[in-house]
């Protein structure tokens, strides 16, 4: 099936929470990524039919279902908080949506419960009550309950956000494998760019209640069309520097390199470079040198995060491989290859070279 949001808007107390959302979600998994107040939960609630949009329609397979109650639709929802029935066992919790479904008889329910419990790795916990489970097990139960009944639309609203980092890593892999074979529309929201990247699914970037961009996540990461998309998908965050056009070149903190395309002199630009593209050695002949003062070095073993202060009190973070030692307060020079710099205009639109193929920014 397909789910279409056609011009959906939601306003609350004078604020716009969703602004003219137009999306078509096909079978399989779609990731919804955006910062905390982007409107992800509101969008999911509208898609589920839990709250009506102020304007716009929700279509399932071309049929308008906008005002139809969630109970008449085939929807399952997993929340960030672990929500289970506290007085029921894990088995009864998972079985609860099946009991309302005529397609399942007593044995059918039991078989299906064991099947999903096996899938979520909680098969040996079926007799316990939620209070006797760890947070991870509780969330597995909640997800299993959502998966038990075959539904048209499965919504997961940051389901791993309240879990331990390591547990998240593992469940993420499990879910990815599971949704790969799903025949329903699965919408998965997250605020974590790495989570979105690791799912490698079609991705919707949401920000301030608007759809920023839709596409393959790896592609968006490598070729962000707007500053908002680049920022949403960068962890650690993007380094932003101010630039200005002079004689067909871009000038930024004493650096100068050719502009991707002709622009009026004096145009203000925003330059963005990812921390791992900043280095302390000149790795390509075209790399630009930036004098900087070392503020802080965070050494994690696998990497060193170098926090730098540039002229004009601009902050810059360099993500260097391995363990490298620095003394705060010292001066140094860092290098940035112009090929790795994203250039955005003042409105946040990416400036691409006219005609010329874009440099592949991987690596």
């Amino acid at each position: 099936m397909t789910l279409i949001l056609d011009g959906v808007s939601v306003r609350q107390r004078g604020e716009t929470w969703l602004d003219d959302i137009r999306l078509e979600l096909p079978n399989g998994m779609t990731t919804l990524v955006g910062p905390m107040t982007a409107g992800k939960t509101t969008l999911m609630r509208v898609a589920a039919g839990l709250s009506p949009p102020d304007s716009g329609r929700v279509l399932v397979d071309g049929k308008d279902v906008t005002g139809i109650s969630v109970r008449k639709r085939s929807v399952a929802f997993v929340y960030q908080q672990f929500i289970n029935y506290p007085s029921l066992t894990v088995h009864e919790n998972i079985a609860s949506p099946l009991r309302l479904d005529r397609r399942f008889d007593r044995e059918g329910i039991d078989r299906r419960v064991r099947e999903v419990a096996e899938l979520m790795g909680i098969a040996d916990l079926l007799g316990r009550r939620p209070a006797e489970l760890s947070g991870g097990q509780q969330q597995r139960t909640a997800i299993a309950r959502a998966l038990a009944r075959p539904v048209d639309l499965l919504l997961l609203d940051e389901p791993l956000a309240n879990l331990d980092f390591k547990l998240r890593e593992q469940l993420r892999a499990d879910l990815k494998a599971m949704f790969a074979q799903s025949r329903s529309v699965v919408l998965y929201s997250t605020a974590d760019p790495n989570e979105a990247l690791s799912f490698a699914a079609p991705t919707v970037v949401l920000g301030e209640g608007r759809v920023r961009h839709v596409g393959e996540v790896a592609d968006m990461y490598a070729h962000p069309p707007t500053l908002a998309v680049a920022a949403t998908l960068s962890d650690p965050p993007l380094n932003l520097l101010p630039g200005v056009v002079r004689d067909g070149r871009i000038e930024c903190l004493g650096m100068s390199f050719p502009a991707p395309r002709a622009h009026v002199d004096g145009t203000d630009l925003i330059l963005a470079v990812r921390p791992h593209q900043v280095s302390i050695t000149r790795e390509s002949p075209g790399a630009l040198a930036l004098p900087a003062e070392i503020r802080l070095a965070e050494v994690t073993g696998s990497a060193t995060f170098l926090h730098l202060l540039l002229p004009g009190r601009r902050h810059l973070v360099a993500h260097l491989p391995g363990t490298q030692l620095f003394t705060p307060g010292e001066s140094t020079v860092v290098y940035v290859d112009p090929a790795h710099v994203f250039v955005f205009d003042a409105t946040g639109e990416r400036l691409l070279a006219t005609g010329a193929a874009e440099v592949d920014l991987h690596g």
Binding site: F165, T300, D360
Partner: protein, 368 residues
């Protein structure tokens, strides 16, 4: 500021039947930034509450320098604490929230003002000082809570209990480095509780890893990452965690299936007795090549995660998963066979989950 010394401190919530925190002896040295890292339920919060005095330990004694504080309540310990979720005096302005701990301790008016303004400048709260704290979004509220923890100049320690849980990922990075700068400027002792290894490693001078109420290893971030003493540390630190591959020591040589990968070196440079062993190597150090170039094992590629800045190559060696982290744009394809090489200086051997040695070169016995 003081050294905080725990002497055989342990806690049990059920009268000694099970230990939430097994008795431990440890000193938190003054003016350092610590991270207390472990999964939920490992006893992190219990330990934190024992230090702050919200909980009296079942056994053991606590010293702040030469003063025993085991029975001293929180108010008498001069500790600051930041909680997981914003805890604010909701009807007060941001300014009054920050000033509250100082006013309660009768700081002079001009010093209160000076300290509040200093903290608010550091945390970027200057424009919000007059706002009522409950009107802020949760992320901002948490920054105010953080500020209240940092506003006092004379504290034995600032305890931070997963303080960045409700903050946006992008803001987390900024706040963490800010916290670290504040630490450098003020010299507070900081103890930062977290389950997120990136947070722990980037923040701390020293990381203490806790598992099932027990301290597993403590050390500088790089040390924990590069030479884990316990399988748990290898797994919990690093993302993805350390690869663990079953192997066998036969005649001093470490074999994975039919392939020899190196000789076994014990902790003090001697050999290791034969028998099963587990090889631990981090994905960052696994080298992937199309053909065997040095002692290595054949692996079937099962999938590739393109993470943007890097790739994760998932493989199986004799049915066991091994992940290699490579530069972005890896040429590996699923269902092909590649060779994995484990660099000796970064590959360790574990028995009963504890490190017992490391890998050494094969000494000319190159081909098995």
């Amino acid at each position: 500021m003081a050294d905080i010394r725990l002497e055989g401190v342990g806690h049990s919530y059920d009268g000694g039947a099970t230990w939430a925190l097994k008795p431990m002896t440890w000193t938190w040295r003054s003016a350092r930034a610590y991270a207390l890292l472990g999964p939920s339920g490992c006893g992190k919060t219990t330990l934190l509450n024992i230090i702050s005095g919200l909980l009296t330990p079942t056994v053991g004694r606590i010293w702040f320098d030469d003063r025993e504080v085991t029975g001293v309540p929180t108010a008498g310990r001069n500790i600051a604490q930041v909680f997981q979720f914003p805890v604010l005096y909701e009807e007060m302005s941001v300014y009054d929230n920050l000033a509250f701990p100082l006013r309660n301790r009768k700081y002079p008016k001009n010093e209160v003002d000076q300290r509040v303004r200093q903290v608010s400048r550091l945390l970027g709260l200057d424009d919000l000082l007059r706002r009522r704290s409950r009107r802020l979004d949760p992320g901002r509220q948490q920054i105010v809570s953080l500020g209240r923890g940092l506003v006092r100049s004379q504290v034995a320690a600032v305890l931070l209990d997963e303080p960045l849980t409700v903050v946006d990922p992008a803001l987390k990075w900024t706040l963490r480095s800010k916290l670290k700068e504040i630490h450098r400027d003020t010299g507070h002792t900081l103890i930062y509780v977290t389950h997120d290894q990136t947070e722990a490693l980037t923040f701390a001078d020293e990381v203490v890893v806790l598992n099932e109420g027990e301290m597993v290893q403590a050390g500088e971030p790089a040390e924990l990452f590069l030479s884990p003493a316990h399988e748990f540390v290898g797994h919990f630190i690093g993302s993805p965690g350390m690869n663990m591959l079953p192997a066998e020591i036969v005649g001093g040589v470490v074999c994975v299936g039919q392939a020899d990968v190196g000789t076994a070196a014990g902790q003090s440079g001697d050999g290791l007795p034969p028998g099963p062993v587990r090889i631990g190597v981090r994905p960052e150090f696994v080298r992937v090549t199309g053909a065997r170039t040095s002692p290595g094992v054949a692996a079937r590629v099962t999938g590739i995660d393109r993470m943007g800045a890097y790739d994760l190559v998932h493989t199986r060696v004799n049915g066991h998963p091994v992940i290699a982290r490579t530069a972005a744009g890896s040429a590996c394809r699923p269902d092909t066979v590649e060779f994995l090489h484990f660099p000796e200086e970064r590959t360790f051997l574990f028995r009963d989950e504890v490190r017992c040695g490391s890998l050494a070169p094969l000494n000319g016995r190159d081909q098995a």
